[in-house]
């Protein structure tokens, strides 16, 4: 029978009576360990050898363990000092014993806790006694430490080893060791004679240019064997989700908005018809800036129209709010609590010029809220925001648009719960069915902008808008439980590396 060279070498080096470690087999056969392993698996697949695996534990002293084995355990020092102080005959002041022992800092606590545990004596009310019968000289933990240091682990007591690991004096590493043994078929094959085939491992440029490749056989690989880990770059999971959302919205005819993260309250709140004393304005707890405190310039005619909408209302039956309104507050700078500030800038005509219906715009950008950090809330998160401007829009159009959008993410059976926002009327909270759990969950907030929002901006058609958090969508779609693992400097690289890519 003809087998590749490496397999022949492994067969010849393997034994029928006992397991031989693959490393030893490789050394004898003059093969790299990986090549020998691969050959062994190939032979095993043909029933010529058996491959067994065992997990070996390697013990290594930590720095602390190493120090103790060269010197002594802190509790041994303590015992010695206690005996010297006469604690075998009766209680002695602990401070005195500790002073004499030369122990300092954290070593004192270590010595005290182990002293009592090992019954070297007792410690009570600041006094220490020593047990005459204790024998720290043959302390099993010290013996085990010495055994590890001398590479005689087999001599060490296993309980003592466990204890040392708990004390942080030992590190335990696990290693998988593979061994081969000839099977009966393997012995038969050897007896019948096995020859090395003319095979090559690696196709080389020379073989290609010389034409030698035509005359050789290629070694068969174990194509099922594990390959080494390759680290690779990957786009952040939230960026991937954001791009998935952006693709969907662009496909639905939406254009992307862009604008400042730090902006005047005017654009963030006042244009949105949020009264300056409304609880929602504190409820959102937006971050106000200490520096810069105020925006440089606001369009004066727009400021006047917004003021008038707040104070006097819009239209003959509009009342406005019975709340104070000052330009000073409107000029104050905040980190935006929602990207609707961008929508206001766009709709006002001050960002990209006057807009005529129909238009669709979106953004998937960061917003900032002065909230408590917890597994589902961050101080910064991404808001998906979108709006449609057309001559006439109804709540049915709103429902149709959002049903379409959420279906792209597997969220179906959308329900529209009538809601209240200061800036939209009618307003709806959106609820959808979770694609995995089947639970009904809130997936967004939407509505048709009020006249008090649109008229000051100079918009005389209908605009419907909605928003939701990207993180919420991510958590719904991919089942993350703690958003902090993903977003921010507390992120876990391992999690980011292992997370499935978004399709």
């Amino acid at each position: 029978m003809k087998r590749p060279q490496a397999q022949v070498a492994v067969l010849q080096a393997a034994d029928a009576q006992e397991d031989r470690r693959i490393d030893d087999v490789a050394a004898e056969a003059d093969l790299k360990p990986e090549a020998a392993t691969r050959a062994a698996f190939e032979l095993e697949a043909d029933g010529l050898v058996s491959v067994s695996e065992e997990t070996l534990e390697h013990y290594e002293l930590t720095d602390e363990g190493d120090r103790y084995v060269r010197e002594s355990l802190p509790e041994q020092d303590l015992y010695e000092a206690a005996i010297d102080a006469g604690a075998a005959d009766g209680p002695v002041q602990m401070g005195q014993v500790i002073g004499a022992s030369g122990l300092e800092g954290g070593a004192v606590d270590i010595a005290l806790s182990n002293y009592a545990r090992k019954a070297y004596g007792s410690i009570d009310s600041g006094e220490i006694t020593a047990n005459q019968d204790a024998d720290p000289g043959s302390d099993p933990e010290m013996l085990a430490l010495e055994a590890v240091a001398d590479r005689r682990v087999d001599d060490a007591d296993t309980d003592a080893l466990d204890q040392l690991e708990r004390r942080g004096l030992l590190d335990v590493r696990e290693e998988t060791v593979r061994s081969v043994q000839l099977t009966d078929d393997g012995v038969t094959a050897l007896m019948e004679g096995v020859e090395a085939a003319e095979t090559v491992d690696q196709l080389t440029p020379e073989m290609l240019t010389s034409g030698e490749w035509e005359d050789v056989a290629f070694t068969e690989y174990n194509v099922e064997a594990d390959a080494e880990d390759v680290s690779h770059g990957k786009e952040h999971i939230l960026r991937q989700t954001a791009n998935r959302v952006k693709d969907t919205l662009v496909g639905m005819g939406f254009s992307e908005m862009e604008g400042p993260h730090a902006d005047a309250q005017f654009w963030i709140n006042d244009c949105l018809f949020m009264p300056q004393d409304h609880p929602a304005r504190t409820h959102w707890d937006q971050f106000a800036l200490a520096e810069p405190e105020e925006i440089g310039h606001l369009p004066p005619d727009l400021v006047e129209r917004v003021r008038s909408a707040h104070k006097e209302g819009v239209g003959p039956d509009g009342e406005g709010y019975h709340s104070p309104w000052t330009e000073d507050i409107a000029r104050g700078m905040d980190l935006r609590g929602h990207t609707t500030s961008l929508s206001m800038r766009y709709l006002s005509g001050h960002q990209v010029g006057e807009l005529d219906p129909p238009e669709r715009y979106f953004s998937v950008e960061k917003v900032y809220r002065n909230d408590t950090l917890d597994p589902t809330h961050l101080l910064e998160f991404f808001q998906i925001e979108g709006w449609v401007m057309a001559e006439e829009l109804s709540v049915r159009d709103l429902m149709g648009t959002f049903t379409e959008f959420y279906e792209q993410f597997g969220i179906t059976d959308l329900e529209f719960k009538p809601h209240y926002n200061p800036y939209t009327e009618p307003s709806f909270e959106l609820f959808g069915t979770h694609p995995e759990t089947g639970e009904v969950v809130e997936v967004g907030n939407s509505g048709i902008f009020r006249d008090e929002v649109l008229t000051p901006l100079g918009v005389d058609c209908d605009v419907m808008a909605w928003g939701l958090s990207l993180e919420r969508l991510l958590m719904l779609m991919y089942g993350f439980e703690d958003i902090r693992d993903v977003h921010g400097t507390l992120c876990d690289l391992e999690l980011l590396r292992e997370t499935e890519v978004i399709r």
Binding site: A288, L289, V388, D397
Partner: protein, 580 residues
């Protein structure tokens, strides 16, 4: 969102629907937008709702909404009122709190539940419309304990809203046994300490007197003499505040709740002296003001918002089911309705709000979604396309893409990077005056980051237990103060990358930066520079197409030690717009 505690038994009693079990009630309430959040310790429903329908802040208001929902009531309901016997004289009241309103409700037979509901309504109104009592504060008094001087004729009685010297006037406040001055109340009474700030700056504090003397110190606390108990049958309600409309409507909500308990509402005259501050000097207002407001809304608008065809009969029917009244009329824009809004509805401030009510009565979820027949062309913003292209290039070079917070603190942004936060100006990357946050929630987040390498260093610091190499990159926001911008802030996207590996070198970083520059067809030069975050002699400016846009180098060992890193890090950072 406001939360109101409601006893389900009370709800059954007030709606007259004894047959409804708890689950049915919860489901009916959900349809109205009142969500069951859980049970209170006293076995009451805890209901949460959006902050528009403040008339639902008591069990009486919730029951009223349910009765409309069930179809038991229709249209606008105005309680009967008796004419005024009492007057609130207003003179020398504080400029800062010029307005007062009031009402009398007689013939109540209150049990514990009714009294508790009244107290809850008062607290909830204080928290919402009253803006924690700053805008409006409610005082409810036992009428029999008040002695009114006759003002005009034999029968008329009055109390006076005025101001008092905080150190001279005295009364026995609630939860106290001795006479106190307003100053003493603010200093040592528990409620006084909570609300005293509202009037602490006043020269003279708000005060209400009857013929016996001071009995209320609004908005802080009432006197003990007029305290309401379950035995109180006749109540005097007064409210003071900074806006007449607001307190008048708070008063309406309270009067409607008490009328639902069988109380008879009686008007009170509010008589402002000729020289009284505020906009009602010399005027007498009759309160409570139960007049209905009217909003004109066209039939076309109702149909265009709801997206359905309706006939007038249906519109009027839905309006009545919502507790409104609608009368068909003609307008320039065709058929319209005069919609009457009851005096407790503080949320209706535009005709559009009545369309929402009609939609709710119709049932929004019964509407069939339609995809709008509107065609637009979509597209990405140039900036976000550039950002994505650069990110793709970095990922192709093997970097893991990070996403960090834009907020950071001075220590991480400057000090731990070897920068001096007090040095301003100059052209050291990262050394920019930062945008700072007022009253930050956490000391970890006090400024916007001026560059992104500090964030990457923090990620490296938090992941020393993970395998190396760690080649990390981020494209994100950085910002600094800039007077030349309208917002006073220059915001830009920054590209930051770091190689943390046992043999990381300047050359490794530069090779990747070069590849990035090549990908965007930019000419890269790296003249030597000095930057405190990098090792001297191993740092360079990043110059793209002749413009200095960033820095590259080997991170200084003192920063590595500071961030608990035990291997070298080579890094670069530059402005994204340099790749345009």
């Amino acid at each position: 969102m406001p939360v109101v505690d409601v006893d389900p038994d009370e709800l059954r009693y007030l709606t007259g629907h004894d047959e409804k079990d708890d689950d049915e009630l919860k489901s009916d309430l959900f349809d109205l937008g009142l969500e069951f959040e859980g049970w209170t310790e006293d076995d009451e429903f805890q209901l949460e709702f959006a902050p528009d329908r403040l008339d639902r802040l008591s069990v009486e208001g919730v029951a009223r909404s349910l009765r409309y929902h069930y179809g038991d009531d229709r249209g606008v309901d105005i309680p009967n009122t008796n004419s005024a016997d009492w007057t609130i004289e207003v003179e020398d009241q504080p400029d800062e709190r010029p307005y007062v309103t009031g009402a009398i409700v007689r013939g109540l037979d209150m049990d514990e539940a009714a009294l508790e509901s009244l107290i809850q309504l008062q607290e909830k109104l204080h928290a919402t419309m009253g803006r924690k009592r700053a805008k409006g504060a409610i005082g409810v008094h036992d009428l029999t304990m008040l002695k009114g001087d006759s003002v005009t004729d034999e029968t008329g009685k009055s109390i006076t809203y005025t101001s008092a010297d905080p150190d001279e006037a005295t009364f026995v406040p609630l939860d106290a046994d001795a006479e106190m001055t307003p100053s003493e109340v603010m200093a040592s009474h528990e409620t006084g300490q909570t609300y005293g700030d509202l009037v602490a700056d006043f020269d003279r504090v708000p005060a209400i007197y009857d013929a016996i003397g001071l009995f209320s110190f609004p908005p802080v606390i009432n006197g003990r003499r007029t305290e309401v108990s379950v035995d109180s049958r006749d109540l005097f309600i007064e409210m003071t505040g900074t806006d007449q409309w607001t307190i008048d409507h708070m008063c309406n909500i309270v009067c409607y709740a008490l009328a639902a308990r069988g109380g008879q509402v009686e008007k009170v005259d509010v008589s402002y002296a000729d020289d009284a501050p505020g906009e009602y000097a010399g005027k007498t207002l009759e309160r409570p003001d139960f007049s209905v407001r009217t909003k004109t809304v066209t039939h076309d608008r109702i149909e265009s918002i709801l997206g359905v065809s309706l006939d007038s009969r249906e519109v009027i029917d839905y309006a009545e089911r919502a507790g409104l009244d609608a009368t068909e009329t003609e307008s320039d824009d065709g058929v319209a309705y005069e919609v009457e809004v009851p005096p407790y509805r503080v949320d209706v401030i535009h005709p559009l709000d009545t369309i929402d009510d009609i939609g709710r009565a119709l049932g929004f979820n019964s509407l069939e979604p339609t995809y709008p027949d509107v065609s637009t062309v979509g597209g990405r913003h140039e900036r976000s396309r550039l950002e994505d292209a650069a990110r793709d290039a970095l990922v192709g070079l093997g970097f893991e893409d990070l996403l960090n917070f834009h907020m950071i603190n001075e220590v991480e942004n400057f000090e731990r990077m070897g920068l001096d936060p007090d040095t301003t100006g100059g052209d050291v990357v990262g050394q920019t005056d930062p945008v700072t946050i007022q009253e930050p929630y956490s000391e970890d987040y006090t400024i916007l980051r001026t560059w992104a390498l500090p964030s990457i260093m923090m990620v490296l610091e938090n992941n020393t237990h993970r395998s190396y190499p760690q080649d990390l990159a981020e494209i994100g926001l950085a910002a600094g103060l800039d007077d030349s911008e309208n917002t006073g802030i220059a915001e830009h996207r920054t590209v930051a990358a770091a190689l943390a590996r046992t043999d990381a070198s300047y050359e490794d970083a530069k090779a990747r930066l070069q590849a990035l520059a090549d990908a965007f067809d930019k000419d890269l030069e790296t003249p030597p520079t000095v930057h405190p975050s990098f090792i001297g002699g191993r740092a360079a400016e990043v110059v793209l197409d002749g413009e200095s846009v960033g820095v590259i180098g080997e991170i200084h060992p003192k920063l590595l030690i500071e961030h608990d890193l035990e291997l070298p890090v080579a890094a670069f950072e530059f402005r994204l717009d340099a790749l345009e």
